[in-house]
């Protein structure tokens, strides 16, 4: 369980995280979503006791992260899979970590096998591919059999097989009753892995919801219509709950707020011939971009916006 209460973090004049409050519960995979620079990594560093909050509080399993007697057994984290000494072997990297807390050597071998690193454990960690480095990072995070697991972009850089492995593993950890908190900047990745969702942008909380609800609310389908009398149809469809806009190019109408069947029925009643009627699914990525549009730190400025 991770409880975050009115958490704020400033670095000099920059506010990385602002007044964040949410709870990450055990037994499910919770996705932590936000554009690059939204404050995800900063929040995770505070959860791991690495950065001090400017104000507000973080507790992990009921206590401040730096108050645990055996932190590896409480919260396992992976922030940066490349954060290893390049010429130390994967085995010795994990062994040194295990020794701080009195974990057995056999536990080191267990996580090496669980992460699929058995054949490369003796190699210098600096020679690992990104996918292997991710697996080593996961092995380190699971070393102390922690109740809470915090992973920053764990799927980043994995191949298809690695992604499948990671999803299976995260689901398994949640099924064991662990708290699993996983960040990503890609909605599609999270949608297939997590069941709960925390969305932040510019360091502020945007949504704290289930993935299913988020998809339903953030992705209103719009309908594309071409008919014999576009102007008349537009007037008939428009209402406070329905927006009608003209699509660029061929003059089709884009209607949101009404299902396609309803639009077809209205046109038929008015005797307008419909040439095209199709529902456009808003992709998850679009929904996410819409939601965080105002909260994106860095965005390409288009020529129009520059004027």
């Amino acid at each position: 369980m991770i409880e975050i209460h009115e958490l704020t973090k400033r670095y000099g004049p920059t506010t990385a995280v602002s007044d964040l409050t949410f709870t990450v519960r055990p037994g499910t995979v919770t996705g932590f979503l936000g554009p690059n620079g939204a404050g995800k990594s900063t929040t995770m560093r505070m959860i791991l006791g690495l950065d001090e909050p400017t104000s507000g509080s973080v507790t992990v399993n009921g206590r401040p992260p730096r108050a645990h007697a055996a932190p590896l057994h409480e919260v396992g984290g992976m922030l940066d899979p490349r954060a290893v000494h390049p010429s130390r072997s994967a085995y010795h990297h994990l062994l040194a970590l295990a020794q701080t807390t009195g974990l057995r050597r056999s536990r080191v071998e267990e996580v090496i096998d669980a992460a699929g690193l058995h054949d490369v454990a003796g190699r210098p960690a600096g020679t690992f591919s990104l996918g292997m480095a991710q697996r080593l990072g996961i092995a380190a995070a699971l070393l102390g059999d922690p109740a809470t697991v915090v992973l920053d972009e764990p799927v980043n850089g994995l191949d298809v097989e690695g992604i499948r492995w990671m999803r299976g593993l995260l689901g398994e950890l949640a099924a064991q009753g662990k708290t699993v908190f996983v960040s990503s900047h890609l909605m599609s990745e999270i949608a297939q892995t997590a069941t709960h969702l925390i969305v932040i942008g510019k360091g502020r909380l945007i949504a704290d919801t289930s993935v299913a609800e988020f998809i339903a609310s953030a992705a209103p389908a719009s309908v594309r219509v071409r008919s014999s009398d576009q102007a008349a149809l537009a007037v008939m469809l428009r209402s406070p709950d329905v927006t009608v806009t003209a699509a660029a190019g061929d003059g089709a109408l884009l209607v949101s707020g009404l299902p396609a069947e309803r639009i077809g029925a209205i046109a038929a009643e008015a005797g307008i011939a419909v040439a095209e009627l199709s529902t456009l699914e808003t992709s998850l990525e679009d929904a996410f971009v819409d939601l965080t549009r105002d909260a994106v730190e860095y965005r390409a400025v288009t020529a129009k916006e520059e004027k």
């Binding site: 055996a70 590896l72 922030l79 490349r82 010429s87 040194a96």
Partner: protein, 261 residues
């Protein structure tokens, strides 16, 4: 199996595992040994080939000659100290380390302990070996002393202790600056640049201040008969050197304990 918790002993053991599996650290220790032995033998050969005459015989210090490599080896020991901490900041490994040890200071003390112990363990035998080799070279010119002479064992053991504390200075500076280049530069500044600057002060003042500078103060313990005009008494000097290291390690501890990792 005992309960899972972080203890100083366990963190120290972890730091030992890290040191022995970090090739850069092992190279630093090896180069310290090579510098102590090779330079000591070379300098002994040189002085044996050109023995002192007349008044110079009285001030000739065969122990210092055979231990001349210690002054070079302090670079290796100091760089090792810097690297033990800055390599973790450079790679980001420090975050994994400190997430496991959130009280943080056990990590610093663990590094200090394995650093001091490993430097003494390799440079002590090296100093004894080069002392014996150097004396046998100088003995051909009847310039040698033996281990039984007053102050000799102290100077040889003192050389290993001096190198250990030089390593701790490096560790402290590396922790304060969190940068390999910065840490090594600061170490060179402290041990070599400041004495040069002080050397420009008018005569008596340069000697008076100079003997309290870290390098000169610490090296007093490696000399059998330190000159009272330019050097503190052996253990007094070493105490001053340790005080520098203690103050810098204290500042390093404050820096590490507070704020962001």
């Amino acid at each position: 199996m005992s309960t899972l918790r972080v203890t100083q002993a366990r963190v120290t053991r972890s730091e030992w595992t890290k040191l022995r599996t970090q090739p850069g650290a092992l190279w630093s220790l090896l180069s310290a040994v090579i510098l102590i032995v090779a330079f000591g033998i070379l300098y002994s050969l040189l002085r044996a080939a050109r023995p002192p005459h007349g008044a110079a015989v009285a001030s000739f210090d065969p122990v210092s000659v055979s231990l001349a490599g210690v002054q070079l080896a302090q670079i290796a020991a100091g760089v090792l100290g810097v690297l033990l901490i800055t390599s973790e900041y450079a790679s980001g490994l420090i975050r994994t380390t400190l997430a496991a040890v959130p009280r943080r200071l056990p990590t610093l003390w663990g590094k200090a302990a394995v650093l001091a112990a490993s430097v003494v363990a390799v440079s002590g035998p090296a100093a004894f070996a080069v002392f014996l080799a150097g004396q046998s070279i100088l003995g051909r010119q009847h310039l040698s002393v033996s281990l039984g002479d007053p102050g000799v064992v102290r100077a040889v053991i003192g050389s290993a202790l001096y190198l250990a504390v030089a390593g701790l200075l490096g560790l402290a500076l590396g922790t304060l600056l969190r940068s390999t280049a910065g840490g090594i530069s600061a170490l060179f500044g402290l041990l070599f640049a400041i004495p040069i600057v002080v050397g420009f002060l008018p005569g008596g003042l340069a000697d008076e201040i100079g003997k309290y500078l870290p390098g000169a103060a610490g090296l007093a313990v490696t000399s059998v008969h330190p000159d009272p005009a330019t050097s503190l008494a052996p253990w007094t000097g070493f105490g001053v050197f340790c005080a520098y290291a203690a103050v810098l390690l204290g500042l390093a501890a404050v820096r590490m304990r507070r704020g962001d990792a």
